[in-house]
């Protein structure tokens, strides 16, 4: 017999074993008859030390209880019908969850559409005139970023502002996320034809 296992059994008998270890040992104890017999003898040792007179130490009480319980259904089997009833009632719960999630998503999309500017006239971009070109080597303070010129008529002004914001804070963001965000913005703001001359509106935003 493994001494460490027996030591754990002794500690478990005294309720001095960590719960996680108890779980594992309880499983083994319920199946291993020799371990169970040792467990029973530990109880006898305690009874003798406490001088429990009048108590038969060889009493076949555990065997008698076991014999009666053999005819009983296991507790899990006894509670199973109730569980099955609940299981029948529970089938719609994932569907309800999905429906609620879809509803929330729909409402969010509708709300965002109502918040979007119509025709680009409600918001005006304030792009500093002096920040047109930055020579990458001049400042020597970091990378330069290219921001496309806003379209004069139906410019996506809010997204340009957003792009500026993202670029301005790019030093503090994760490089991977930064790359993804920037590329997403570049793509979204590229002209439909894809032939437009590269920006004349270049801004040095390196901090």
């Amino acid at each position: 017999m493994n001494e460490e296992l027996d030591s754990q059994l002794s500690a478990m008998f005294d309720d001095e074993l960590a719960p996680a270890e108890c779980e594992l040992l309880a499983r083994r104890l319920s199946r291993d008859e020799s371990l169970k017999a040792r467990w029973g003898r530990y109880a006898i040792v305690g009874a003798v030390i406490r001088a429990e007179r009048g108590v038969r130490l060889n009493a076949p009480l555990a065997g008698r209880v076991n014999a009666v319980l053999l005819a009983e259904p296991a507790l899990a089997a006894r509670t199973a019908p109730r569980d099955r009833r609940y299981a029948r009632l529970r089938w719609w719960q994932p569907l309800a969850g999905a429906a609620v999630a879809a509803g929330v998503a729909t409402v969010s999309i509708l709300w965002l559409r109502t918040q979007a500017p119509l025709g680009g006239t409600t918001l005006v971009a304030h792009v500093p005139a002096q920040a047109n070109v930055a020579s990458p080597g001049a400042s020597g303070q970091g990378d330069s970023y290219v921001v496309p010129r806003p379209k004069p008529a139906a410019a996506l002004v809010p997204s340009t502002e957003l792009a500026n914001y993202v670029v301005a804070h790019s030093m503090f963001s994760n490089p991977v996320a930064r790359g993804n965000l920037l590329s997403a913005f570049m793509t979204s703001e590229a002209p439909a034809s894809g032939t437009e001359e590269p920006q004349s509106d270049v801004k040095a935003l390196a901090h």
């Binding site: 002794s10 779980e23 467990w39 003898r41 040792v45 030390i49 009493a59 009480l61």
Partner: protein, 202 residues
């Protein structure tokens, strides 16, 4: 360390349908429960019957046990109620004496008379088990004997024993385990070798 974790882990297994785990609980508490019931009935055999009934009631009620109290506290209440009901139904009055006063000669004599109802072989084996365990305890080194007695007789936790013996908790755990192993070695020989083995072992 959470109190009652070992009982609770066994209880959870029973609740999941593992009857073998209930065996372990019966083995652990059968002597305590019989001793408890004997405060209400005179006859040890009758006390065993009542304890058996209490265990079966507990098993059937286990789905309702949520672990708010310790398992033994819960079992204790079931046993007390079962014993009281048995006494009422048989129109007997409870025995009013404290089993903890075992050193009292009068109490011991009373126990001796009660044993007459037992089978002779069972009584001899019980006495043999007692003498074997007591001899094994006497043969233990002082530190092991102190640790096991503080645990079993005084019911101290490992931490309390460590404080009392001025040693780490791990040492207490080891001492109690080694004490149990030494006693168990002798006890196992009695169970496997049959009656009279204790005398041979000396």
């Amino acid at each position: 360390m959470s109190a009652d974790a070992s009982d609770l882990s066994l209880v959870r297994r029973v609740q999941r349908g593992d009857k073998g785990a209930f065996d372990a609980l019966v083995l652990k508490y059968q002597h305590k429960l019989v001793k408890l019931v004997m405060r209400y009935v005179r006859n040890p055999a009758e006390a065993e019957d009542i304890a058996q009934e209490a265990f079966i009631k507990a098993y059937r009620a286990l789905p309702q046990f949520r672990g708010d109290s310790a398992f033994y506290t819960w079992l204790y209440r079931i046993a007390i109620n079962t014993a009281k009901n048995a006494v009422v139904s048989r129109d007997r009055s409870p025995v009013e004496y404290d089993l903890d006063r075992n050193n009292n000669d009068e109490s011991y004599d009373m126990q001796g008379r009660m044993k007459d109802s037992e089978t002779p072989e069972g009584l001899v084996l019980t006495d043999e088990i007692r003498s074997t365990v007591n001899a094994a305890i006497d043969a233990l080194p002082e530190d092991l004997r102190t640790a096991i007695v503080l645990r079993e007789l005084e019911g101290l936790s490992y931490e309390e024993i460590a404080a009392a013996m001025d040693c780490p908790v791990g040492t207490v755990r080891s001492r109690i385990f080694r004490a149990r192993e030494a006693i168990d070695r002798r006890l196992r020989e009695v169970f496997e070798g049959g009656l009279g083995r204790a005398e041979e072992l000396g």
